[in-house]
Symmetry: C2
Subunit: 469 residues, 2 copies
């Protein structure tokens, strides 16, 4: 059941166009590729190039693109504009796009400047003259390439289409930056999520069904919540799902964690309390990106329902109704702490995590990018000026009340075999209270995956689906 | 040699005062502790309480502190100040510190509000009335406690010393926030690092010698570079060190990665180029915090020296000399990308990572917190306005030249068995070029650890050393 240690269980088909890239350029050592490392796509035409593929040109096509189907954009004239320090390209559709000399020299695609097997830039910055000017500039219409000759005789050739996709026109720059973010987030209240909650079968998800995997990743990015159904009611499913969506991220609680509410010899009258909406591990500077919670054995009887809400939506409501509190929660931090010892069989470590963070994080445009709250591990040390103490609690209370509001809160009881997968930096989770009896045991397994790996997997699956015959 | 999968090999002594804390409050499920989970320190006096311990009070001492040696700070009078909405405490040293009502109610330490076995706040925000006022306030001098009775009859007791350490006085708030950062960073040039480079023996470090571990962690925090010596010249040492300093963080290259420059059947004339100063994995939103590079087999002959420099120091030089370039590099992003397939035996995954980031990151006070640069994986897509292109290259060039300057760059050739451990968000690493011959093979193993876990381990080791008899 459990994936082998250290092995990625991702079952993505390895199509022939995939290139093998050794762990090289970012690792400090260059290693030649062996005979097995055939690069199979270096002569593909530049059509269909994903605008996300910001890497080296050799990854998707070679500079020998001539003879292939004509691309959309062609340069009809190249002007060496010494006044602006740019080569101005005039395109077949009439627009003019300038390319600065230094960028052109830095972006030379010849085998001396772009390493042919490691597929990344080998020209070093200390080899780059920032004030460089071309000796000559020529448009090779037949080859659909710009040809630049430099003062030392070095010649650089750039495919038209490749240049077009790197234009410095404001509209193009903005479009590229937008695409880096991936699919656009859709905020939700309960009614929206009632309509849009995606349920996928475990076997299809981890079994390599690309459409299912794509849907799950897409919904996770857009809505932040997906329900996986019919998982085996045993430990291990979380790791399988984690390695399908990305890579399981260990914490001081281990690679995955097991939680159970049950009658304990020392604690017969124990009550499993209601748990208010929260995010996990807010005392990590790097909060886990996505959480998986697998219901292995649900509580029998009343209570124990899971609750979820979209904190981004809630934050926007606060911004609209109480901009003063929104500003406070976006600028003044709470402290979170977790101190103790993890003595589970798989690891035995003391831990002492502390981190101070604002509840809301925003990007430079004011979009909310992260929300963090967790009442039980919120520290009793509140390191803020006295006059902000009461407003901070007003903010906490307003946030909590909005998350719990029936218009916002999604409530359902997970079945055995259900796995809730949710954005731990956006979607609050919690649980309604219940009473533990002799007859009921509630057992879950949880784990985390980070967004770097999820976005990575999403791009790959999107490409694979696009390339399907 | 290699640590067992999923098992923390940390050999920290488990002293009796350690409390066992189940993975509970941050995980969404409350689980009672079993009989083995004795909390052994709940009756320790509040003396010696680390100001970093921002967690629940039960972690270090109980509210039954009476009868223990007298603490430093005592309340001589408690005044219920309804005008300010605070309880004003008058201390034996004459100062007055106000504590807001709502904070006091939120911070009640009774077993109903502070969960006695999970050791965290069980009072929920929806149970907290933000406008609450005490019915009565009393100073219990004998018990050294403030006693507050609330309108519903609920009684809260707070040890004087515990309150003192949570004072809202500006000086105290600032001091606490400062301590969260840990030891202060010391910027370095080559001469400074020549004097301060810490060399520790592998066996002492991973063998549980607390003083060695403390020194290594402290230097890693302060200077960002430590050299571990006499490691076994075989794979596995990186994982041992990683689990000693924190937890090994996997990436799409696996849990650790192996790099080798050697004569390859397909590439006899291969030259291992100079590698300019860089950080690893700049295309991850969450760049690894610390890197370990273990020299298993060094190149025989000229070249192959490792180079390191302190990018924080370099950034400060740029800020002083060229504030315009500093501002640019701190506000306008570069794009980084890594696209390919990891086909090493231990994992087989396609990857497609892209991230856009500024070279310099700062905190709200303008202190540099992170630097990221990596020329080979810097994308050819430069998503900036045309007029910023040339200045961006000026910045890259100035940064690189300063890193490479003999006054700044530390250069040494690692011996077999050396492991360089360095802050991957601060210390640039690189390598001088060399020529591969039939006689020489250069083999390294690398891996990463994140700062959350390193700071965590540092706090624990510091506590353990302090508690030594």
């Amino acid at each position: 059941m459990a994936a082998a240690a250290g092995r990625c269980v991702c079952r993505l088909p390895l199509v022939t166009r995939a290139v093998r890239r050794p762990p090289v350029t970012s690792r400090g050592v260059i290693r030649p590729l062996g005979a097995a490392a055939a690069v199979t796509d270096r002569h593909r035409p530049p059509v269909g190039l994903s605008p996300l593929s910001g890497g080296g040109p050799g990854r998707r096509y070679s500079v020998q693109a001539a003879g292939q189907p004509a691309p959309l954009h062609q340069v009809v004239k190249a002007v060496n504009n010494r006044t602006s320090g740019c080569v101005d390209l005039v395109w077949n559709f009439g627009s003019v796009t300038p390319f600065p000399y230094v960028w052109l020299r830095d972006s030379c695609l010849c085998p001396d400047c772009f390493h042919p097997t490691t597929l990344s830039r080998s020209l070093r910055i200390d080899q780059l003259q920032v004030d460089i000017e071309p000796q000559s500039v020529q448009n090779d219409g037949a080859a659909q390439q710009l040809v630049v000759t430099w003062p030392d005789g070095h010649v650089s050739r750039y495919p038209h289409q490749w240049l077009r996709e790197r234009s410095f026109a404001k509209r193009d720059v903005n479009a590229r930056r937008k695409q880096l973010d991936g699919p656009k987030t859709v905020l939700w209240d309960r009614a929206t999520m009632d309509r849009h909650l995606l349920r996928v079968d475990y076997d299809r998800l981890v079994g390599g069904d690309l459409a299912t995997l794509h849907d799950a990743l897409h919904h996770l990015i857009v809505y932040g919540l997906v329900l996986v159904r019919k998982a085996p009611t045993d430990f291990g499913a979380v790791e399988e799902i984690g390695e399908t969506l990305g890579h399981v991220r260990p914490t001081h609680y281990g690679k995955t964690f097991r939680v159970a509410s049950k009658v304990d010899a020392n604690n017969l009258a124990y009550t499993a309390n209601e748990l208010a909406p929260h995010m996990d591990l807010t005392y990590y500077e790097y909060m886990p990106g996505v959480q998986m919670l697998h219901c292995i054995s649900q509580h029998i009887g009343d209570g124990g329902e899971s609750i979820f809400s979209d904190s981004f939506h809630v934050a926007e409501v606060i911004r609209a109704r109480r901009p003063d509190l929104f500003h406070l929660l976006a600028t003044v931090p709470f402290e979170f702490a977790d101190i103790g010892e993890e003595a589970e069989s798989r690891s035995r470590c003391r831990f002492h995590k502390i981190h101070e963070r604002t509840m809301f994080c925003m990007d430079e445009d004011g979009n909310i990018t992260q929300v963090a709250t967790n009442n039980p591990v919120r520290s009793y040390r509140l390191n803020v000026p006295l006059e902000l103490v009461k407003p901070m609690y007003e903010g906490l209370r307003m946030f909590n009340d909005l998350c719990r509001h029936p218009d916002n809160q999604l409530t359902f009881k997970m079945d055995n075999g259900d796995v809730a997968v949710f954005n731990n930096r956006r979607v609050t989770h919690g649980r309604l209270g219940f009473t533990v009896t002799e007859d009921s045991q509630r057992t879950l397994e949880g784990g985390y995956v980070d967004w770097d790996d999820i976005m990575c997997r999403y791009r790959i699956v999107t490409d694979l689906l696009r390339e399907r015959p």
